[in-house]
Amino acid sequence: MDNKLKVILSREETSARVKELGEMISNDYRKKELVLISVLRGSVFFAVDLSRSLTVPFSIDFISISRYGEKTDSTGVVRITKDLDVNIADKDVLVVEDILDTGLSLSYLLRNLKTRNPKTLKVCTFLNVESRRIVNVPVDYKGFDLPDIFVVGYGLDYNEKYRNLQYVAEYIKD
């Protein structure tokens, strides 16, 4: 193992919790038109595993927004870099995030999706870092609460590395 990494959530813990979330969501979305919206790129791993544990019909789509600090956008405003292909009007939408911390980007995303008139709009995040929250956003389903540490794995990266880890680890900087 990379000596900069300290395992926080094992593959088994992660897998078990994702299944639990899948059961909860399946119960809540019976007889509804569930659309999972995975926020690229980090949440893909979680969204795929979550979708496999669902026992209700659903469709899945992907959305991506620019991030503050990216070279091309550092002086502008947030924009959608990959939009949905499906129409979510009158659908029961569940936004799937890998990690929710400041709430800044999710706040924008929810405002944007609301304008498309979904029937319901909820949020499921794999990791939740409440201590970093700046603006309040609703969290309907969450996998794990984390303290203010920098983590990688299970879709989360550091300079595009470590996304493929099947566990979640704290990345300890030099």
Binding site: V77, V78, T102, L104, R133, I134, N136
Partner: protein
């Protein structure tokens, strides 16, 4: 921004008049206690500043101390005046901002006998004790102006307006100041707003909203404003000052103006990049704010939180 300075004789109701004037105009009141708390990072250095102030004129470092004090005082008040309309009580504000525009410099006076009666009533003192207290306070003010600014406190030519409170009330004196300020603003064409829109009780001269248009007190605030702009989150910079403490005369002695207000989230945000062990004063203010204004939501972004933010957005290198 605009400012009004008030100099006063002890017992002339100057503190009360400053407070009412600030309320009528929705200006931020700045007095001795607020200035000294902001300029001294700990109670120990606060005490040291008091000692140094009293020592002025008694040792060979007089000139240097005077210059340092004027410099730090002027820098602090200048920063405040860039973002706030101010009523400055005492501290030689009329001399610090002698050439500032728009400004109104006011002196509050009252005959000694009347002041003695007021001080006797206010502090439950006998006539002699009241007289002694007035003499001491006025002497200290005269000395402060002489030592720090090398000016004569009694020189009425340093003021635009002198009000004698012998026969008028606090409220009437404040009205005179407010109206004088508005008339002065009109005659000098001082405001950026159309003159007919000058409000009687809210003389905010400009209200820029975006990060590019505002002069922030600290680079971290500017960076944070850019983040909010990026995610299209509405914000206002230091839109409200919360009074936290008052003295026996009802003057505000401590206040807190959080850096940002996010109206869509009904949230105030304060950013501090001080080291954790030095944020005790801010935490104390935050606790007091919560006690006095339980419905106000405040989020403090500490240095470690701010660093996390920079790391998250890849700006930490």
């Amino acid at each position: 921004m605009a400012l009004i300075t008030l100099s006063r004789e002890f017992g002339s109701w100057g503190e009360e008049i400053a407070r009412v004037t600030a309320e009528k105009l929705d200006f931020l009141l700045i007095n001795k206690k607020i200035i000294e708390e902001e300029l001294s990072p700990s109670p120990e250095t606060h005490d040291q500043m008091e000692l140094e102030e009293k020592a002025l004129g008694k040792n060979e470092h007089q000139s240097l101390l005077r210059k340092e004090r004027i410099f730090s005082l002027h820098r602090y008040l200048n920063q405040l005046s860039e973002e706030n309309n101010l009523v400055i009580l005492g501290r030689g504000g009329h001399l610090l901002f002698k050439d500032y525009c728009p400004a109104l410099h006011v002196k509050i006076i009252c005959p000694l006998e009347k002041r003695i009666l007021r001080v006797m009533e206010l502090y439950s003192l006998g006539k002699k004790a009241a007289h002694t207290l007035i003499s001491e306070q006025d002497r200290d003010r005269k000395k402060y102006i002489k030592d720090i600014f090398n000016e004569n406190w009694l020189n009425l030519n340093l003021y635009d307006l002198v009000i004698n409170t012998d026969k008028i009330s606090v409220n009437r004196a404040a009205e005179i100041i407010v109206n004088s300020f508005i008339i002065m603003g009109k005659s000098n064409d001082l405001t950026t707003a159309p003159q007919e829109e000058l409000p009687k009780a809210n003389l905010v001269l400009s209200s820029p909203e975006k990060s590019k248009e505002i002069r922030f007190m600290h680079p971290s605030e500017e960076e944070f404003a850019k983040m909010l702009d990026f995610y299209r989150i509405n914000w206002k910079y230091e839109p409200r000052t919360f009074p936290l403490e008052w003295d026996s005369e009802g003057s505000i002695t401590e206040a807190f103006a959080p850096d940002f207000y996010l109206p869509d989230h009904d949230l105030y945000v304060e950013i501090t990049t001080q080291r954790q062990k030095l944020v005790w004063k801010k935490n104390k203010k935050a606790r007091r704010l919560k006690e006095l204004y339980p419905d106000v939501n405040l989020k403090i972004i500490y240095n470690k939180d701010y660093k996390s933010l920079l790391t998250k957005f890849g700006l930490d290198n």
